[in-house]
Symmetry: C2
Subunit: 218 residues, 2 copies
Amino acid sequence: MAKRRADGLSKEVIVRAAAAILDDGGEAALTFRALTARLSTGYGAIYHHVANKSDLLAAATDDVIARVVRGAVADAEPREALRTVALALFDAIDEHPWVGAQLSREPWRPALLEVYERIGSLLDALGVPERALFDAAGALVNYVLGVAGQNAANARLLTAEEADRSAFLASVSARWEALDPDEYPFVHKAAAHLREHDDRAQFLAGVDLFLAGIATLR
Amino acid sequence: MAKRRADGLSKEVIVRAAAAILDDGGEAALTFRALTARLSTGYGAIYHHVANKSDLLAAATDDVIARVVRGAVADAEPREALRTVALALFDAIDEHPWVGAQLSREPWRPALLEVYERIGSLLDALGVPERALFDAAGALVNYVLGVAGQNAANARLLTAEEADRSAFLASVSARWEALDPDEYPFVHKAAAHLREHDDRAQFLAGVDLFLAGIATLR
DNA sequence: ACCTGAACACCGTTCAAGT
DNA sequence: ACCTGAACACCGTTCAAGT
């Protein structure tokens, strides 16, 4: 079972290099040319370990998600554990936006199986009736992935520094505020909240709404 | 205000042609070469009306979403109206999977503004306290877009006929069933439900969970 | 003002040839 | 068995030239 390592390529080495490129420069930066340069090898060497680019992206995503799901501490209280797992996923995807984009593009991957298992059994432990368990798990996982995708898109939009973020939010907020309050009453009011809102807190608020809804099923 | 139409291009004509190509052949089919062929014109003519491919995709998405939001009947009862709008979005994205992919890639678009307005003011009408209104609207929109993205990914996976769908679900289900029930208790149990689950019904169940959670805020 | 299409600078992927 | 890198078939986008 000993794998050769010191020299020679392996899928693991390639996947890690791809993840590093994705973290540095985003999805556009991951090309086979960049990868061969970084690993000082040829195209064929990479294709020998990896089927194609899509396979490579999927493997890198599985890697990140598996680490998160394994790493999340097993809290005693299921409700708290659910919030912890959800937040861990949120933070991982915030740190690696390409994971969010990939997850909303390729479901049914091994990585998501782990996520479903974790969230599903926590909901079970929470006392959700079996009849509603699968819908509830599906909804919660979809919510987490949905926010993940949006967050990834935002991160891609704001590739630059932190100052850009508030400038961007301020400009969207100003645009919303300028709308006719009769035609857009909600968005007009929401503009103020947008400027100072915290993505992470809003994400958790959504999880809590879900859990509150689920609690009514008991 | 009269626009020339009989001959000559316009952004509208280009966007409609792009939508038709996307509906027919998916995202991979939309190339500027295919577009020039369909419109029997040159690249420059298209670039004269459209900034780039990303702009074109965004405009086509806005078009579809705007039609859905405008088209959804204004139900008297806000709870029922929310379910109607959510289902209308689900169905539109099921019919045009590329819209789902685009929405999870480019938020803050005019199209989403309409969605936020509609969902936000319905939640307001439902009596959600102002303090929780923006988190609730954000969570619900994110849920809808999350499912949309997943659905789009599934649709892309199952480009062929309906028979493929049940065959695919059966194979995933079999893989889940084969997992060790001690290590994967939830997924193992979920396998049976997966085979016969209805995406549309599960989506609505998620919306209802949300609304139940929101009802506890009053 | 609007359109044409050759040309450019990229991609992912293949494959004959090497060790 | 594993690796190399020239070559192929594509892309999006530009731009000098036309009407």
